[in-house]
Amino acid sequence: MKVTSSTTTAKPRLTTSAMIASIAAEGQPTRAAPFGHALIELARRRPEVVGMTADLGKYTDLHVFAKEFPDRYYQMGMAEQLLFGGASGLAAEGFMPFVTTYAVFASRRAYDFIHQTIAEEDRNVKIACALPGLTSGYGPSHQAAEDLALFRAMPNMTIIDPCDALEIEQVVPAMAEHHGPVYMRLLRGQVPLVLDEYDYKFELGKAKQLRGGDDVLIISSGLLTMRALEAAKKLEADRIGASVLHVPTIKPLDVETIVAACRRPGRAVVVAENHTIIGGLGEAVAAVLMRERVHPAFHTIGLPDEFLAAGALPTLHDRYGISTDAIVGSVKSWL
């Protein structure tokens, strides 16, 4: 059969992807492998730093570290229980393992090993996990929608959800300064650069207000801070003043800053996160506000409590309400 070419100008078909760049805004500047390069910088100063992975070095930006420090790199094969048990052992001997895999494998498959051999023993292990939340179109096997809920429940665990390349570069040395286990949600590959416009400096445990606005306060972490900033600009065009409070440290939570920002009379509060609405930042903030007797109009934006579809990331972000336009629409219809 002869195939005739189409004469309509169809939109290009979006392909399935697990690359952050595919959900960056058009024209957004990016930096390549900020985690890997920051780790190299750290390792030059700290000889106890070693890198470990379970067959995902190339996919967690650890390969650049491996190339620079081949004798400080441990390939543990596709074995996440061994990966985290081994990291505990290296930490017990005085080393500081930076361990990478995908967030689904750390949170779901190796949870007991992280709980018992790392968190309970308070080992100095830094866990950096790619594909947090909905940053893969590969379906539930690769979508770590519940990693924050799981790790928030684990005593001793510090949790960081950085927004962009600049923040990742600052988070890596901060992880090393903190003694004890840290879980970081890793954005890998070509990572957008956002916070350089906001005179931003990461501090462990601190929430930072990035922009002011009188009508609504958007509290967000990770990738959703990038989206919140974009949404705030669009809302401004509609004469809705949106303030953005970035909360990169999910645990321990900066209760003081969050409560102070939410106390402001007449301003509604929206928490936006790249995570299921169960057990993440939204519920953490809600609980804090209830305890502190602060009761603003309150709304959460996050992933639904269901197994998410496979497909193209921009489509999925629209469908599940965490694209910029979806956030703008959600805020406007709710206010």
């Binding site: 070693v50 441990y74 543990m76 094969g77 074995a79 229980q81 061994l82 985290f84 048990g85 081994g86 990291a87 505990s88 052992g89 290296l90 930490a91 017990a92 001997e93 005085g94 080393f95 393992p97 007991d112 090993f113 709980h115 018992q116 051999t117 309970e120 023993e121 308070d122």
Partner: protein, 279 residues
């Protein structure tokens, strides 16, 4: 010291480890007593023949590490740590009570000389791999010993760790498997067949020996051969043991994974050990 003279001493060490464990069992009225009795000979050889450590300084950097993977054997390790002078004998009375440093399941943050938190099974060999890698990075010649049970072979993590230990040529790793053929639900081999164990472990690239774990001479020889072995490979000692070893009426008991022992039986058990004729 002659081998014979050494073994007489080890015989007494093993007997006293059993007695310490029984006395701890008595204060709770129950416990993993059968395992403590079966593994006492291996622990006596580890702590009084093979391992390098300083009782007054349990974190001494040059020590050999002992990782107890099967945390429910804590009562056995506490008994060895008491006998080694790392834990004071008086603390035996606190075993399993609130605020004790000797909880029912072994935890690193509680007990001097306890190198890892076990309890959840299948953790120890993976941690041991990391310890061995770390010691090699430091240029240390210390060994990492780890004890786990035949039941733990059901856990996939054990096989992940076995592969990696051979891959990284961890000749500073000596793993001991207690084969007492007893798990929570019944005989280990019936829960999940693990034989032929020697062939499997050898095929994974390990130097492996299988011995009667209640024969002190055989255990000493196995530990010596493990540490002296010249190939750059990890080492395993498979120790076949008898649950309740040394106390005939406990050896004969069928429900022996977690033992409830009647109040009057503790003294009978201790008496059997004092007599020593059964060992």
């Amino acid at each position: 010291m002659t081998v014979q003279g050494h073994n007489v001493s080890l015989h007494e060490r093993a007997r006293r480890i059993r007695c310490h464990a029984l006395r701890m069992g008595e204060v709770q009225g129950q416990g993993y007593i059968a395992q403590a009795l079966d593994i006492a000979d291996v622990l006596a050889v580890a702590y009084f023949h093979a391992m390098r450590y300083r009782p007054e300084d349990p974190d001494w950097e040059e020590r050999d590490r002992f990782l107890l993977s099967n945390g429910h054997y804590a009562i056995a390790l506490y008994a060895a740590l008491i006998e080694a002078g790392i834990v004071p004998e008086a603390e035996l009375e606190t075993y399993g009570f609130d605020d004790s440093r000797l909880p029912m399941s072994g935890m690193a943050s509680y007990t001097p000389g306890m190198e890892m938190s076990g309890g959840s099974l299948g953790l120890g060999l993976a941690i041991a791999v990391g310890r061995c890698l770390g010691l090699k990075r430091k240029g240390s010649d210390s060994f990492v010993y780890t004890l786990f049970s035949d039941g733990e072979l059901d856990e996939g993590s054990k096989w992940e760790a076995m592969m990696s230990a051979a891959h990284y040529k961890l000749d500073n790793l000596i793993a001991v498997v207690d084969v007492n053929n007893q798990q929570a639900d019944g005989p280990s081999g019936q829960m999940m067949g693990f034989e032929p164990l020697v062939d499997k472990v050898r095929a994974f690239g390990w130097f492996v020996q299988r011995v009667d774990g209640n024969d002190l001479n055989a255990v000493v020889a196995a530990f010596d051969a493990a540490s002296a072995h010249q190939e750059a490979v990890p080492r395993m000692i498979i120790a076949d043991t008898v649950m309740g070893k040394g106390v005939p009426f406990l050896e004969a008991r069928e429900r022996n994974h977690f033992m409830r022992v009647d109040a009057n039986e503790w003294k009978l058990a201790l008496a059997a050990l004092q007599d020593g004729s059964q060992l």
